[in-house]
């Protein structure tokens, strides 16, 4: 994986937050999060000699992934047709806010507008307030993940056909996958789903909404009345837990959980049950609640902070966190590890995010066959 940056560095290096809250080419933590295990080179695609270097690189590559505005790569003479002429096996994956086909494909957008376009904003927030986005930008992750899916799908297709192709990824469409089945209510019943703050919607045919986020003693916990075997077990266990701690189970005690159905319970009953649950949860800390639900095999989790996630014993037991060097020098940093175990092994994080041009000599000279003098000349000309 080779990251190609302009000589002044990728704009992603200017994304907050920063290590020590100081701006610096290697200090963006958002940049670091997305660029470990890559080597990095600089290449000025505005100059013909830079584009020539890029073509040589593409000739031996499996895939190129780009996120310029639609048409920009074509304008540089590096569009799919041009690159495929050099390397017919190449997969070119283009990531844009709205895909390359639509009437406003080139309209600028940040995470906020992309979230709005996907329906994800519409569904979040309190009913009496505005729609709201996740504070940590999510659309780059969704779009990047979907680009990896598309690129690998094209790799599998190439194994059969011998040919690469162009893969078009829309960040808007990528984020639509995040809103679950909410569009189906419109498609099937012409019913609009609405934001409802901490309440689950779309679980009932009676209009009942189920509370999922509850205040506890030191924050919030996630808990809801649920159907199915796990839901029934959870409700029965909650009653037992309340009685053990001397709390009044109230209406929770009156329900036959074996016949309780989330889909058909009335809003009045759900309200009575939740009146009994709230005061109990308010007495527990996040950790007390977590330990309790694990011990009792109940559905539910704390609303975790990033501090909680670092300390989570399950992640530690599975060897999830790995270490990478801080690009700004100094210590090793713990880092969220690879996303799955393959044949029992977690792929290793081998290197930290590259400095701009860190691997210019290794790649341009060692792999593309430039002489050191040629590299110096390119540097002096502002190409790398």
């Amino acid at each position: 994986m080779i990251k190609v940056e302009p000589p002044e560095g990728d704009p992603g290096r200017r994304l907050p937050p920063f290590a020590g809250d100081e701006l610096g080419v290697d200090r963006s933590l958002t940049w670091l999060a997305g660029n470990v295990n890559k080597r990095g080179i600089t290449c000025n695609l505005e100059m013909e000699s830079g584009r020539e270097l890029f073509r040589r690189l593409v000739a031996g590559a499996d895939a190129a992934i780009e996120s310029f505005t639609p048409g920009e790569l074509d304008g540089l003479g590096l569009g799919y047709e041009a690159l495929a002429a050099i390397n017919p096996r190449l997969i070119l994956t283009s990531i844009t806010p709205f895909g390359s086909a639509g009437p406003h494909a080139a309209a600028p957008a940040s995470d906020l507008e992309i979230s709005a376009s996907s329906g994800g904003l519409w569904l979040a927030g309190d009913p009496d307030g505005p729609p709201v986005r996740t504070t940590l930008p999510q659309s780059p992750s969704w779009a990047g993940m979907c680009a990896a899916m598309g690129t690998l799908m094209a790799v599998v297709a190439r194994d059969a056909t011998g040919r690469g192709q162009h893969v078009d990824v829309s960040a808007q469409a990528s984020m639509i996958t995040a809103i679950s089945h909410a569009p189906v209510f419109w498609d099937l019943l012409r019913e609009e789903q609405v934001r409802s703050g901490p309440y689950l919607t779309g679980r009932s045919v009676t209009g009942a909404n189920y509370r999922m986020i509850w205040p506890c003693r030191d924050g919030y916990v996630a808990f809801a009345l649920y159907g199915g075997p796990a839901g029934r077990h959870t409700s029965k266990q909650l009653v037992a837990w309340m009685e053990e701690l001397g709390a009044d189970p109230g209406a929770m005690k009156t329900v036959d959980w074996d016949s309780f159905e989330v889909t058909t319970a009335t809003p009045e009953l759900v309200h009575q049950l939740e009146e009994a649950i709230g005061p109990f949860l308010l007495k527990l800390t996040r950790q007390e609640f977590f330990k309790g639900v694990v011990a009792r095999n109940m559905l539910g989790y704390p609303v975790a902070t990033v501090e909680d996630i670092w300390q989570d014993e399950q992640l530690v037991a599975r060897g999830f966190h790995q270490e990478v060097a801080a690009p700004w020098g100094g210590d090793m940093l713990p880092f969220p590890g690879s996303f799955a175990l393959f044949d029992g092994c977690r792929p290793v994080l081998r290197r930290t995010a590259p400095r701009p041009g860190e691997h210019n000599a290794e790649i341009y000279c060692g792999e593309l066959g430039l002489t050191p003098d040629e590299l110096v000349a390119l540097r002096e000309a502002g190409v790398v």
């Binding site: 906020l112 979040a124 799908m153 990824v169 609009e192 996630i309 599975r318 799955a340």
Partner: protein, 403 residues
């Protein structure tokens, strides 16, 4: 030719996190077979609205149709020895198995990776579950709607000091779907080179935490515990959601830096307040953001959503309507991508399947089959793939193997 033509995927389990992996592959031409049972129905057939005409029924659930278009369905009762044997025979003729039971269940059924791969060494098997196959919480039951909170997402959604909000459904499940698909495709690519299969142990929790990485690093490096900040941004200002004329109509817009600010106030017609020192610099605008947001809202409120979008877009600024679910079906960008593909369902009628968010231009997705009715493909799977006669299939049905 389709991207996944010739690949056969067998699915065990239900809900979203496993089956939507198969949906992506089915949309790209893989033959994806859901192994279902009348004795253990997918919760998405039984427990979740919406239903056609609001009447519950296993063929009436829109959520099942939405996540299973393009697949086939065979019923096998895995509590019977013959049912398990048939499942093994099916997997022996497959490339991929996807299962999302709780850890250990698939092995207890006699369909663990060791058994399946002994008969089919090239098999790629994805086990996706709440917290992974190992570790102290492996057997703790959970759904994506809870796990989304454990992975920190709800803590970051809402306004400062107020109760966190949900983002509708089991947000993290769909992250796990993406990484599950990536893992399966990467393993298939490796198999193309080595002939070796692969067992993938995927923890939905660990995939969700990938999307939290910048915030986790912010804590470790800076000691900061990020919390929800409404719609605000560290440097762009204004950066928010503003009401327009009409009922519950909103636009999202953001202004970064001074050049965009100049264009923004020009679109607003240089109101008097725009010249105040309180709004002269990015820092000043950040310090007076409450008041700035009120002033921007007093402008957007006078206009239709479409008018606000048109004006700001013409000036090259970042803006988009806050799309409702109805709006998604008329959104011009999504229409251009053919995101909503019409399919005819035998019970639900004319409905739409969602296209994958990535389009392979030379081998585009084909979505002409609705989600299968329960057991709709029994004779194809048992007859054509496994070579059983009609009489044999009738006998199996009589013995309850196909329940």
């Amino acid at each position: 030719m389709s991207a996944c033509a010739g690949l056969r995927v067998i699915e065990f389990g239900g809900f979203a996190a496993g089956p939507v992996v198969g949906k992506h592959m089915a949309n790209y031409g893989a033959e994806v077979i859901r192994v279902e049972s009348h004795k253990a129905l997918d919760g998405f057939r039984t427990h979740y609205p919406p239903y056609k005409d609001n009447v519950p029924g296993i063929e009436r659930a829109g959520i099942f149709s939405f996540f299973n278009d393009g697949k086939r369905s065979v019923t096998l009762n895995l509590k019977t020895a013959k049912g398990v044997e048939l499942a093994r025979e099916l997997v022996a003729k497959a490339d991929v198995v996807v299962e999302n039971f709780t850890p250990g269940t698939i092995s207890r059924l006699g369909l663990g990776y060791d058994v399946l791969s002994a008969a089919n060494p090239g098999l790629v098997m994805l086990s996706t579950c709440n917290q992974g196959q190992t570790g102290p919480h492996a057997n703790h039951p959970g759904f994506g709607s809870h796990l989304t909170s454990l992975a920190g997402f709800t803590h970051l959604l809402g306004f400062p000091g107020e109760t966190p909000s949900l983002l509708y459904g089991p947000y993290i499940d769909y992250i796990a779907v993406g990484f599950g698909t990536i893992a399966v495709l990467a393993a298939l690519a490796r198999r193309g080179k080595t002939g070796k299969g692969c067992y993938i142990d995927l923890s939905q929790y660990e995939t969700g935490v990938q999307f939290m990485a910048p915030a986790l690093l912010d804590y470790f490096v800076n000691g900061r515990v990020p919390t929800r900040a409404g719609n605000r941004h560290p440097s762009a200002v204004p950066h928010g959601v503003f009401p327009c004329s009409g009922d519950d109509r909103w636009v999202a817009l953001s202004v970064a830096g001074d050049a965009d600010w100049q264009r923004f106030v020009e679109v607003l017609g240089w109101p008097v307040w725009a010249g105040e020192p309180a709004f002269a610099t990015v820092q000043a605008r950040k310090e007076n953001e409450d008041r700035l947001e009120e002033l921007v809202a007093s402008w957007t409120r006078t206009l239709s959503r479409e008018a606000v979008v048109e004006k700001l877009r013409a000036a090259g600024l970042r803006v988009y309507p806050v799309n409702s679910m109805a709006d998604l079906f008329s959104d011009a960008e999504l229409q251009a991508r053919q995101t909503w593909r019409p399919v005819e369902h035998p019970v639900q009628g004319k409905i739409h399947a969602a296209a994958p968010p990535f389009t392979l231009m030379s081998t585009p997705p084909k979505q002409d089959r609705p989600a299968p009715l329960l057991g709709a493909d029994n004779s194809y799977v048992l007859g054509e793939i496994l070579g059983l006669t009609e009489t044999q299939i009738e006998e199996l049905a009589g013995e309850g193997v196909l329940d």
